[in-house]
């Protein structure tokens, strides 16, 4: 046995007064986030990317008769964004739901919280790690989609233009307009708003799931309730309108409904992806509002999670 612990207590400084750790330490949060990121990556979650690749490859080769070039390009975007959306929400819910119970079961939580780690740092680090994985997955999926869309655009538009040029009545101006119409559905910078909107939605979903996992008794419960809240959140507006208009409703039911409307994030606000896929112009103000909404929901759910987690005994 080596004698390397000799300095253990002396180096610590027996008379050194303990330094109060800052309430929020970026370096500690970053350590927890990178460990979470590594944990999820080494759990081989990126294998899901292969499924995404497979789906996009199938759409690329799927060419139903009667579809125009623009429709084919839009289909690629629609399906890809839908898959990106589903995968991101699945990642956000499943990975967040698994983290705290697993740390508790493996007693890793004991070793972390017995270090000078404020509980807020732990929650922030875990949440950030999950969001880093979701972000990385979205970047990979979007890069793949961009590549496929670019290649598909070049092949389909070239073939279509060659075909149109052979038509005798086709003048160059009409040809240019038709090309512009087709290319409008191709690869453009504003498409980047779609993965961004999906990411913001995933932030809120992960924050809600983190809150649930601070008091849930099982991972399954957390996953099911998170998924339910996610679905309810999409009908936020209609639920609110029904409750406001229906004056004959039972008072208790109405109150409960209003509480749900207040507590559940309005996920319908994030449904901007369809418009982006349809090449509709994106208002930067809308994206700014989405950032704000995401920040408010995430901070609120983190605060409630912290209140529960602060007093939790292990």
């Amino acid at each position: 046995m080596s004698d390397t612990t000799t300095s253990t207590a002396e180096s610590a400084g027996k008379d050194a007064s303990p330094v109060r750790p800052p309430l929020i330490s970026p370096s500690r949060i970053w350590s927890l986030a990178t460990v979470t990121f590594t944990q999820l990556l080494r759990m081989k979650v990126l294998y899901f990317m292969l499924i995404f690749g497979l789906i996009v490859a199938v759409i690329f080769n799927f060419n139903p008769s009667g579809q125009t070039v623009a429709q084919q390009l839009k289909s690629t975007k629609d399906v890809s964004f839908a898959v990106m959306n589903v995968f991101s929400m699945l990642f956000a819910i499943a990975s967040t739901a698994i983290l705290i119970p697993k740390d508790l079961e493996d007693r890793t939580l004991y070793t972390i919280l017995s270090k000078p780690v404020p509980r807020l740092d732990y929650l922030l680090g875990r949440l950030m790690g999950v969001l880093m994985v979701v972000g990385a997955c979205l970047i990979i999926m979007y890069a793949f989609l961009a590549l496929v869309l670019f290649v598909q655009e070049q092949i389909l538009v070239s073939a279509e233009l060659s075909r149109l040029r052979e038509q005798p009545q086709m003048d160059s101006e009409t040809l240019l307009n038709m090309e512009n119409d087709m290319r409008k559905q191709g690869l453009h910078w504003p498409l980047l708003y779609a993965p961004l909107a999906i990411f913001l939605k995933a932030c809120v979903v992960a924050a809600v799931t983190l809150f649930l996992s601070t008091f849930a008794s099982s991972t399954l419960f957390t996953i099911i309730v998170s998924a339910m809240l996610f679905l309810i959140g999409h009908f936020h507006k209609s639920t609110y309108e029904v409750l406001m208009e229906d004056t004959h409703a039972n008072a208790v039911v109405a109150l409960l409904g209003k509480l749900v409307v207040l507590a559940v994030p309005n996920f319908a606000l994030f449904n901007v992806v369809d418009g982006i896929a349809a090449a509709e112009p994106v208002d930067p103000m809308l994206m700014g509002q989405l950032f704000l909404v995401t920040a408010v929901y995430t901070v609120l759910y983190l605060l409630v999670a912290l209140i529960v987690f602060m007093d939790k005994e292990f």
């Binding site: 046995m1 080596s2 004698d3 390397t4 612990t5 000799t6 300095s7 253990t8 207590a9 002396e10 180096s11 610590a12 027996k14 303990p18 330094v19 109060r20 750790p21 330490s25 370096s27 500690r28 350590s31 927890l32 460990v35 590594t38 944990q39 080494r42 759990m43 493996d106 007693r107 890793t108 004991y110 070793t111 972390i112 919280l113 017995s114 270090k115 000078p116 780690v117 404020p118 007093d311 005994e313 292990f314």
Partner: protein, 289 residues
């Protein structure tokens, strides 16, 4: 007089069992003090309240009544954890991290960074004899190796108090001995240690003071000498004593009023010692037929 490493006063911990106002008193009016630089052994049967007491010391639980202070700081305050290291029973660290990554992670949690952290990680890996396995993932570590990496993470920030919960549970005698040596090294360095173990022999070997806890209450506490000394008995160990000499001693004892010979025989070594002796790397190999 220096501030005690741990000072628990009248600690009571009650857990609600159900909604029908039923409670479990896990620890009741428990008081103990672990002095600075002292190795304190807390022993007791399963369910006696040892783990609850430890969790209160670590701030993982709050006392229902009473107080717990670590180097003068309330154990619920995160500041008290600057000076504490903890090794839980059967720890499962992140199995996808390597030994070096694990220590680096825990070091960073304690605010360490840069070359100082790297140096400390190398030092600790050498201390626990895991330098050769530094880049292997913990998923491939044996039980003993996991306990040793656990001990290394517990002391990564050079804490003044190390809390060990059954540090040798499930470890073979050789690994157990290594961990015991590490605890002795910590003691030599002046680090306070609070040790919970069922292995009484081990507790006896390393602890300065021992507390016996039963049904949440401290039933006996004191220095090892005080607890195990049989004040009315005297042990004499003879080497190369002839039968005649032994007979003389017997007759002398018979002549003494009130004296009684309790045992006489060959002193025995421990099974642990024989096992370790026989399984040493440099032990002579048994002859083959």
């Amino acid at each position: 007089m220096s501030t005690p490493a741990v000072k628990i006063e009248n600690l009571t911990k009650i857990f609600p069992l159900s909604l029908r106002k039923r409670y479990l008193v896990a620890v009741e009016q428990l008081s103990l003090t672990v002095g600075d630089g002292e190795v304190y052994g807390l022993i007791g049967p399963n369910g006696s309240g040892k783990s609850t007491t430890m969790k209160v010391v670590l701030g993982l639980m709050a006392p229902t009544k009473g107080t717990c202070r670590v180097f003068g700081n309330d154990s619920r305050d995160v500041v008290s954890r600057n000076q504490v290291g903890f090794l839980p029973e059967n720890p499962y660290f992140y199995k996808y991290l390597t030994g070096a990554e694990t220590l680096k992670f825990y070091g960073k949690l304690c605010g360490m960074k840069g070359p100082a952290l790297k140096e400390r990680v190398d030092e600790l890996l050498e201390m626990v004899d895991l330098t050769g396995a530094r880049d292997r993932r913990l998923g491939g570590y044996s039980k003993g190796m996991l306990q040793r990496i656990g001990l290394a993470q517990a002391v990564v920030q050079r804490p003044r108090l190390v809390v060990l919960d059954e540090p040798t549970a499930g470890v073979d005698p050789s690994g157990s001995r290594k961990i015991r040596d590490l605890v002795l090294q910590l003691k030599k360095d002046g680090t306070s240690v609070m040790l919970c173990s069922h292995l009484l022999e081990q507790v006896q070997e390393v602890c300065d003071r021992i507390g016996i806890i039963h049904q949440g209450r401290m039933v006996k506490e004191g220095s090892l000498k005080e607890l195990i000394a049989l004040e009315d008995q005297t042990e004499i160990v003879l080497k190369n004593g002839s039968e005649a000499l032994i007979e003389k001693i017997r007759s002398l004892i018979r002549e003494e009023q009130g004296a009684e010979l309790v045992t006489l025989g060959h002193p025995r070594t421990t099974l642990e010692r024989v096992f370790l002796e026989e399984t040493r790397q440099d032990a002579p190999k048994p002859a083959k037929d």
